[in-house]
């Protein structure tokens, strides 16, 4: 750690104490407390949920890692373990739950379906990976990942938390307390509010292309 890093922790420091604040061990204690008591949210959607329950049950015990209880309520949990296929009908509920979680919050995409659509990617009701809507921290591939693979993934998350620093975490910076993801709407198909202007452009382009084709076809016929 260089002197300049030590002296710029991201806070406003009065000039009298400038040069006198460093936050190395506090980071480690803070992170140790956070990584040892992550409470997952009971969010099993499909088959991966069973392996998640198995990871919590008698043979592979998640409570050894501090993941003592699985809280069904998002207000009381730290980790959203998206286990299973994310469908368009379900995604508004998922985004709403993600918004209701309190900081610091993490998301682990468990299984092939939550990571990238999985074997059902080509379906008309399937969202190709939950990271299209909410930010994901760790991806655990597999269909379904065995409980040992899931525990490895959760340990990976714990290692990621270890590397975080008080200087850089979002919830202690200036700015809005919570950044909410806008909830998608179910119309003729799934509509993501963040992409509405872009969608409009794409639809206009598609209509133009279709109109061009119909004007070209009679020309070629004639």
């Amino acid at each position: 750690m260089t002197t300049s890093e030590l002296n710029s922790p991201g806070y406003e420091i009065p000039s009298e104490v400038e040069g006198a604040v460093a936050i190395t061990t506090i980071d480690r204690i803070y992170n140790f407390g956070r990584r040892s008591s992550i409470w997952p949210m009971m969010f099993g959607l499909a088959c991966c949920a069973i392996e998640m329950i198995c990871a919590q049950a008698s043979r592979y015990d998640l409570a050894r890692f501090g993941m003592e209880v699985m809280r069904p309520s998002p207000r009381q949990s730290d980790l959203m373990l998206v286990a299973g296929t994310v469908t368009k009908k379900m995604i508004p509920a998922i985004v709403r739950l993600y918004n209701q979680m309190a900081e610091p919050k993490y998301v682990v995409a468990m299984g092939a379906c939550a990571s990238g659509g999985g074997p059902f990617k080509e379906g008309y009701n399937v969202v190709a990976g939950v990271d299209k809507f909410i930010p994901v921290d760790v991806y655990v591939p597999g269909c379904p990942p065995t409980p040992q693979a899931l525990i490895y993934g959760l340990n990976e998350l714990q290692r990621k938390i270890d590397k975080q620093s008080l200087k850089e975490v979002r919830w202690y910076r200036k700015g809005p307390d919570i950044v909410e993801v806008p909830i998608p709407m179910l119309g003729p198909d799934l509509i993501d509010p963040r992409r509405i202007p872009q969608l409009k452009l794409e639809l206009a382009k598609m209509e133009q292309a279709a109109a061009q084709q119909t004007t070209q076809a009679p020309e070629t016929k004639a």
């Binding site: 009971m42 969010f43 099993g44 959607l45 499909a46 088959c47 949920a49 069973i50 392996e51 329950i53 198995c54 049950a57 008698s58 043979r59 069904p72 299973g84 296929t85 469908t87 009908k89 379900m90 509920a93 739950l97 659509g117 074997p119 059902f120 990617k121 080509e122 379906g123 008309y124 009701n125 399937v126 969202v127 190709a128 299209k132 269909c143 379904p144 065995t146 709407m185 179910l186 119309g187 003729p188 198909d189 799934l190 509509i191 993501d192 509405i196 202007p197 969608l199 409009k200 794409e202 639809l203 382009k205 598609m206 209509e207 279709a210």
Partner: protein
């Protein structure tokens, strides 16, 4: 070869001009004109005592311009199916009379046919979309409806080899995502209408009542999809008067993964791992049902050893399913996790066997057309024997001792959620729920498949029809499964396990077949239509969890909201097969 049909009575003579035999090659059954459909159904139900409607599926015959609805009915006294179909021209609006007046169990299946094909059933009490949301554009399972990530009609896709430049599916769609919109759609001007108006309109009306001078309101509560006790993403909308349930509507489709549309695109062999993910607790049973349907079409025999292995795997699957079910039911009742942990222990040992045999704990992908994919490895049969003959009987008894006489359990389960036998058959319930009402209908006895006719076992039956019996019958069934297993592990012969060479391009002759097995949750059926190509034309799954929910409202109305949770837990639903 198609499912055998009752040929003793020529129904075309009974209804001349309106009923004709289905003479397409590989097909069987009767084609009924729509105007006589209800009269025909009443004759079957009352006159010939075909009281159990097993399957109702829509089929799209685009090249012939017809939309067909196919029905499979059975007698609860046992025997083969009677298949009948209705064919209507494929021009909107497509209308078929609804059979809910004769077979109330057709209600949810007709809603599904409406949702996915656009067939309007006249006379249906509540025709709304069930798996997709109201406002969704189009009828997805029609052959001319292409989804957003559509690449090719049939697999294998040509873009993967030899010109295998990797291109994510997102790049092919102009929106970069799995969405498509109708022409002329403007996302900025579109006003989100409430897609649930029809749902709330179908409930009993919300009104406030004056009881002894106190104004009380009825409350509408949404349970789910994220709820600690619904077994997966299932939602129920209940209207409550205090704590008493007045009206209840299930909402499904939160895990609709388009299994049937993908199934029509896959080859026959590629569908096998997808069937694992239907009822994800019992992948062995799902595989067997699908293999049965296709083997009927291909008319191939399965070797002896493979039949025994199939029975062993299916019965082990049944035991671990019932263990989990009891554990999760107790979880719902409030005994947080202790019985579930004990159940999970035994399940882990059974899953170790599945892992050793097939390679994966849950998604086994073990059965093939003509047998199973590989023989049991060294030492596995001894492990199975030691489990079945020594450990599991003791553990089932221990479970019984732990729970069955527990006063709290008895108080919560006895007399709750009553359903009579007659109602159960009318609502097409199948499986342990039906047998708990006193009707001894088990597909392994009524219409034996595989080698079940060689084993000496009893069909578990209880007579009270309430939740306590549904709990006890699962323990009975575990004991019967252990009985079958102990016979099977002693009688298993040596020999090959797969007929013919392993082939990945299976050519299946044209025709239709309905293969059904007695799954732990009920009767699991696969309806497969083939046109002689390597891909099926229609692939439909008769899911027991889906159809067992038809009677949910009847069982819950009048009880308390806490009982609803217990009733749902004891029906044993799994969302993978409910929503497909």
């Amino acid at each position: 070869m198609a499912t055998p049909v009752q040929t003793t009575l020529d129904l075309s003579e009974k209804f001349p001009g309106f009923v004709a035999a289905d003479t397409r090659p590989g097909y069987s059954g009767w084609i009924v004109a729509p105007e006589k459909l209800i009269e025909f159904a009443i004759f079957l139900h009352d006159g010939l005592s075909y009281d159990f409607l097993s399957n109702l599926a829509g089929v799209d015959y685009l090249p012939e311009g017809k939309m067909e609805v196919v029905y499979h009915v059975y007698k609860t006294t046992g025997g083969p199916a009677l298949i009948f179909k209705v064919q209507v021209p494929r021009a909107d609006p497509i209308e078929v009379p609804s059979l809910t007046s004769v077979y109330p169990g057709a209600e949810l299946q007709e809603r599904e046919a409406y949702d996915l094909y656009g067939i309007r059933f006249t006379g249906h009490p509540d025709l709304r979309r069930i798996l997709m949301w109201e406002g969704f554009e189009g009828y997805p399972l029609r052959k001319d409806w292409k989804e957003a990530f559509y690449e090719d009609d049939l697999k294998p896709f040509k873009s993967r080899w030899p010109e295998g430049k990797i291109k994510m599916a997102e790049e092919k769609n102009p929106h970069g995502d799995n969405i498509r919109f109708p022409a002329g759609f403007d996302p900025e001007k579109w006003v989100p209408t409430d897609p649930e108006e029809l749902l709330y309109a179908s409930l009993k009306n919300y009104y406030s009542e004056d009881k002894d001078g106190v104004k009380t309101d009825h409350v509408v509560v949404n349970m789910g999809p994220q709820h600690p006790s619904t077994h997966g993403v299932f939602r129920a909308v209940v209207v409550l008067d205090g704590e008493t349930v007045l009206s209840l509507k299930p909402v499904m489709g939160y895990l609709h993964r388009n299994h049937e549309k993908i199934g029509e695109r896959n080859t026959f062999l590629q569908n096998m791992p997808y069937t694992d993910r239907l009822d994800y607790f019992n992948s062995m049973t799902n595989n067997w049902g699908y293999a049965l349907a296709v083997e009927k079409l291909m008319a191939i025999q399965v070797p002896e050893r493979a039949e025994y292995i199939r029975v062993i795997m299916a019965e082990l699957s049944r035991i671990q399913n019932h263990m989990i079910l009891i554990g999760m039911l107790l979880n719902d009742l409030g005994a947080y996790f202790t019985p579930a942990l004990y159940a999970f222990e035994e399940r882990e040992l059974i899953l170790d066997i599945f892992e050793a045999v097939s390679g994966s704990r849950m998604m086994c992908n073990y059965y093939r057309f003509g047998g199973v994919v590989r023989d049991l490895p060294e030492g596995t049969l001894d492990k199975i024997k030691s489990l079945v003959l020594e450990r599991l009987p003791k553990k089932v008894e221990e479970f019984d001792r732990l729970l069955s006489e527990n006063e709290i359990l008895v108080a919560r389960l006895k007399g709750v959620g009553y359903l009579s036998g007659v109602d159960a058959i009318a609502y097409s319930m199948a499986g342990p729920v039906l047998r708990a009402t006193g009707i001894p209908y088990d597909v392994r006895r009524a219409d034996p498949y595989g080698i079940y006719d060689r084993f000496d076992f009893d069909v578990a039956v209880r007579t009270n029809g309430d939740l306590y019996d549904r709990y006890l019958i699962r323990i009975d069934e575990m004991r019967q499964s252990l009985k079958i297993l102990s016979q099977a592990v002693k009688q298993i012969p040596e020999g090959p396990v797969l007929t013919g060479k392993p082939q990945y391009q299976v050519r299946v002759p044209a025709g239709e077949a309905y293969g059904r097995v007695e799954g732990p949750k009920g009767e699991l059926g696969f309806y497969v239509v083939s046109t002689g190509k390597p891909n099926p034309w229609r692939y439909h799954v008769r899911a027991p969890s889906f159809i067992n929910l038809t009677a949910l409202e009847k069982m819950c109305v009048g009880g308390k909201i806490a009982d609803f949770v217990a009733i749902l837990g004891a029906i044993d639903i799994v969302l993978g097969e409910l929503d497909r």
